[in-house]
Structure formats: structure tokens, C-alpha cells
């Protein structure tokens, strides 16, 4: 067991290092530019709207950059190894195929985690800078003890927006969504050979995943009217993850208080789903002709 973990770790480490050598983390600089530019652009609004807009831009940027990394990265994990024939060198060593696959997955997931952490630090940094600007404007640099009750109330309102602990929940769910998307792209890469096809199929599954809840609740009724459409809906309901459940991230960023119990329910759903998909990927990859 320990030996297996070490082999997975070795493959993961080499995958992460290879990605870092390709300067994938430059994406953080791009994110920083987007955040700073948007925060300057939104500076004319009231603090309530400005914080909402900055949070939305931040969350959308983390999602887009993370999804691109997860889909493109995972789509290249196996096909590139086969194309370059480096997989034969690895397979000639005492490494099981399943360990190789898990190592690849966790290597890319480590990169995604680093990116999400880096982007979150920049995101919180921009929010805190704006918080300080607003507090300084309202209090005119006076010491906290000298603030009027109105100033205290306004500062409390700003801090409620800027130090919203819900943002941690949002980041956690963003990461869980990326981990799930990566596992699906990896599953596709165990059956397909073309990276472009894998990326395209991942995007389609991601989009359809947002309609999964509609398909799940409607397929039986649709089946009575049109069996083909009903069967198609049933396939979506059974085989595609419910990505719409992650839409709660927008509510969290809008200031809605969401219980940790609910967040952990969605988080554990995506972790469990990811494990099932990884297991299926491993089984398929065992029989794949290299």
C-alpha cells in the first residue's frame, strides 16, 4: 500500500513539475490583471455594488481559468504521453496503470489547487484593498475611538461585505467543481485519442451538467410523450453530474448565508462522484491498448 502511494506521488510530482516548467502559473498574473482592472472599472459604484461586482468577476475568472486548465490539462495527460511514447518508459517500470492514472490526476489537481490558492490570495487582496479605501474615506483617517455611531455602522456594513466568511465556502466549491471536471476529462482521455475531442466533449458534458436537474425530474414524464427524448433525458440524468448544484456559489457571493452542512453535502457529492469516475477510468485504462 505504501509503495503504491509512493509511486502515485512520484507520477503526480513529475506531472506537476512538467506543468510548472511550461509556466502554467503565468495564469496567476493574468488573473491579477483582470482583478485589478475590474476593481478600477467598478470604482464608481456604491461599496455594496462594487464588492458584489468584484466578487462576481473574481469568481468567474477563477472558474474560467480553472476550467480551461482542468479540461485542456486533463485532455493532454494520456494522449500526449502516448503520442510522445513516454508512457512506455513509465509502464516498463513497476508501476500499475491505475497508479499511473491516479498520479497524473493528482499531479494536475495539485496544479489546479496551487492556481486556485494563488488566485484566491489575489482576490482577497483586492477586496481588502478596497475595504481599506472605503473605510479611510468614511472615517477620514480618524482613530476608531473617535468614530461617530453612523461611521461605526457604515464601517460595519463594509466589513460585512469584505470579510464575508462565505467567500471561503465559495472557493472550496469552485475547487470541488474543478476536481470533478478534471476527473471527467480524464475518463474521456482513457477512451479517446484526440485531445480536441476530449476538450470538446468535456465542455459539452459541463454544459449539459447544468441541465441535469431538469432532465432528472422530467425524463419519466417526457418518456410518455416522446420516448426518444425521454431516453435521452434519462441518459443525461443517470450519467452526467449535477453541475447546477454548484450554482449556489453565486448566492454565497451575493451575501446569502449558506450552512456549512449544505456546503459539505455538495462538496462530498463532488468528491464521491470524482472517486467513482476515477475508479471507472482506472478500469477502462487497464484494458486500453497502448
Amino acid at each position: 500500500m505504501k509503495g503504491s502511494l509512493l509511486r502515485i506521488q512520484a507520477v503526480a510530482w513529475s506531472t506537476l513539475m512538467e506543468a510548472l516548467r511550461q509556466k502554467v502559473l503565468w495564469v496567476l498574473a493574468l488573473f491579477a490583471v483582470i482583478m485589478i482592472a475590474s476593481s478600477i472599472y467598478f470604482a464608481d459604484f456604491t461599496f455594496e455594488r462594487e464588492f458584489k461586482f468584484i466578487k462576481d468577476v473574481g469568481s468567474a475568472s477563477i472558474s474560467v481559468l480553472g476550467l480551461l486548465t482542468a479540461m485542456i490539462g486533463a485532455a493532454q495527460l494520456i494522449p500526449t504521453e502516448i503520442e510522445r511514447r513516454t508512457i512506455y518508459t513509465t509502464m516498463s517500470k513497476p508501476v500499475f496503470r491505475f497508479e499511473f492514472l491516479l498520479g497524473k490526476y493528482f499531479g494536475l489537481l495539485s496544479l489546479i489547487t496551487l492556481m486556485v490558492l494563488g488566485m484566491s490570495v489575489i482576490f482577497f487582496g483586492v477586496v481588502l484593498v478596497h475595504e481599506q479605501i472605503y473605510v479611510a474615506e468614511i472615517t477620514a483617517g480618524a482613530a476608531a475611538a473617535d468614530w461617530s455611531p453612523e461611521q461605526v455602522r457604515m464601517v460595519e456594513d463594509i466589513l460585512e461585505q469584505s470579510r464575508d466568511f462565505g467567500m471561503v465556502q465559495a472557493i472550496l466549491l469552485l475547487w470541488a467543481r474543478l476536481a470533478l471536471v478534471e476527473s471527467i476529462a480524464l475518463l474521456l482521455s482513457t477512451v479517446a485519442t484526440s485531445s480536441i475531442f476530449i476538450i470538446f466533449a468535456s465542455v459539452v458534458i459541463y454544459i449539459i451538467g447544468h441541465l441535469q436537474s431538469v432532465a432528472r425530474e422530467a425524463w419519466a414524464e417526457v418518456m410518455t410523450e416522446n420516448w426518444m427524448l425521454g431516453a435521452f433525458s434519462a441518459v443525461i440524468a443517470w450519467l452526467v453530474p449535477n453541475f447546477q448544484s454548484f450554482s449556489i456559489i453565486d448566492e454565497i457571493l451575493a451575501g446569502e448565508t449558506i450552512s456549512w452542512a449544505y456546503v459539505s453535502q455538495i462538496f462530498s457529492y463532488s468528491v464521491f462522484y470524482t472517486l467513482i469516475v476515477l475508479l471507472a477510468s482506472g478500469l477502462i485504462f487497464e484494458e486500453r491498448e497502448l
Binding site: E48, R49, K52, F53, K55, D56, V57, S59, A60, S63, V64, R177, Y206, I207, H210, L211, Q212, S213, V214, R216, E217, A218, E221, V222, A237, W238, L239, N242, F243, Q244, S245, F246, S247, I248, I249, D250, E251, L253, A254, E256, I258, Y262, Q265, I266, Y269, Y273, I276, V277, L279, A280, S281, L283, I284, E286, E287
Partner: protein, 254 residues
């Protein structure tokens, strides 16, 4: 081939068994996003359309709502009121839980659009301008009523609705009712409870206004805030009401 079959079976079994879990997650999500759990029914086209449009945004709902709101701000500056309404409707549909969208959207319609119609109207005559203005006020009111279905406990929406009835429709009695509802919600500003009585008095409901103020004064008379200007104003109104209603000397508060 055998392992591939097992993988397919694994995904299928998981797919069939996960439905209950997903349904539970969706039930709570709808409660949070829409403020109510309405089970999807293919016959309820509105809700289905709303769910589909939310789904098609593919996880970028907040950003789409923000874009709609930015577009609304541009339309407001150009006095394109139909576009203002369309963008406010879009933002509130995409992200109904954002109180700010309901509140500010209604303000744009009931004040900015309607006053523009009244003051700078391109209408042929004054009656026509007043009808147009009234329509915009009603659009703002309806937006808030829809917002209250999602946010039945938000004081800000009740206050805005009360302001519309007071300032734009001249219906003080209904305004008093909404100020009262606002004052009973968490986070309501202190003035809401005073405005109930003032609105009742403006509606000509002098006895109701006096009875209400008597109750209110009983609660605050020993507190330091009763000597502050807002409460001194209440005191003045109560004294005037005592005169109007000819309250016997022994029963008067002041």
C-alpha cells in the same frame, strides 16, 4: 472488455443511485435561489424556463447578473426606460436573491422613469404623460411585490414599497401598512415604526394614528431617545391629534 463492462456498470449503478442525493441537494438549492421549493413540472413553463435559463449560464450566473446590471446603469443614463426595465427583470430573474436588484430596479422604474415621463415627457398632452408615469410607478410596485415573494423578511423591500405608496401613489393607508410590516422585520431602520403613525395621520385615519402613537410612546417615553428631534416631532403630532380628536383632558398623554 470485461473491465470496460464493469466500468460501464459501475457508472450506471452510481447514476441510478445518486438521484435521491441530487434531489435533496436541488430541493435546498431551489429554496435558497428562488426562495421557495417548487418541484419542476414540465407544465409550469415559467419556472422551467427560469431553471433552463439559469442552467444555460453554466455557472456564471453572478457574472451574467452583474453584466445585466451594468447594462441597466447605461440605459438609465440614456433614459432608455424600456431597456432599464428589461435589464432589471433579467438581473432579478438570473439572481433573485440579490435584494439590491429588486430595490434599485423598482426605484429606477417608480421614480426615475415615471418622473421623466411626468417632467420631460414627449407625450402629446399632460393626461397621456400622467398615464405613462402611472404605468411606470406600477411597474416598480409590481417588481417589489415579486421581490417580496422571494424575500418575505427583507425590511428594505417593504420600505421601498411603502415609499412608492406614499410618495408616488398618494395611498397613505397602504403605505402605513407596509411601514408597519417593515418595522417588524429584522434590520428595519428606526424611522419605519414612526412613519406608520405619520402615514395613518396623512390618510385621515386620525383615531388609528393616535392609538398607534400612544402605544409607541408608551414604549419609548422613559428612554433618552424620546427627547431627540424625531420623537419630539411625534410628540407634536400627538398633541395636534389630541386637539383634532378632542381627547378629554384626563385621557391625554400630553
Amino acid at each position: 472488455m470485461k473491465l470496460k463492462l464493469i466500468a460501464g456498470l459501475l457508472l450506471l449503478v452510481w447514476g441510478l443511485s445518486k438521484s435521491g442525493w441530487e434531489a435533496g441537494i436541488d430541493k435546498e438549492r431551489r429554496l435558497i435561489v428562488h426562495g421557495q421549493d417548487v418541484p419542476l413540472d414540465v407544465n409550469t413553463r415559467d419556472l422551467l424556463g427560469q431553471e433552463l435559463s439559469l442552467a444555460l449560464l453554466g455557472g456564471f450566473r453572478g457574472m451574467a447578473a452583474t453584466s445585466a446590471w451594468m447594462s441597466l446603469t447605461g440605459a438609465w443614463e440614456n433614459k432608455e426606460w424600456t431597456r432599464v426595465k428589461a435589464m432589471a427583470d433579467l438581473a432579478t430573474t438570473i439572481q433573485p436573491k440579490m435584494v439590491l436588484f429588486w430595490e434599485h430596479g423598482a426605484w429606477h422604474l417608480a421614480w426615475n422613469a415615471s418622473i421623466d415621463m411626468e417632467t420631460y415627457s414627449r407625450q402629446a398632452n399632460q393626461s397621456r404623460a400622467e398615464i405613462e408615469a402611472r404605468l411606470w410607478i406600477e411597474e416598480g410596485r409590481d417588481m417589489l411585490l415579486r421581490g417580496l415573494q422571494v424575500h418575505p423578511n427583507k425590511a428594505a423591500l417593504y420600505l421601498r414599497l411603502a415609499d412608492i405608496y406614499w410618495q408616488r401613489l398618494g395611498d397613505y393607508e397602504t403605505a402605513a401598512d407596509y411601514y408597519l410590516q417593515a418595522s417588524q422585520k429584522e434590520g428595519a431602520p428606526a424611522y419605519a415604526e414612526r412613519f406608520v403613525g405619520i402615514a395613518l395621520e396623512k390618510a385621515g385615519k386620525n383615531q388609528e394614528a393616535y392609538d398607534y402613537f400612544c402605544q409607541l410612546w408608551e414604549q419609548v417615553k422613559t428612554e433618552p431617545k424620546s427627547s431627540q428631534p424625531p420623537w419630539q416631532n411625534v410628540k407634536r403630532i400627538m398633541m395636534e391629534l389630541e386637539e383634532k380628536l378632542q381627547v378629554p383632558e384626563g385621557e391625554r398623554v400630553f
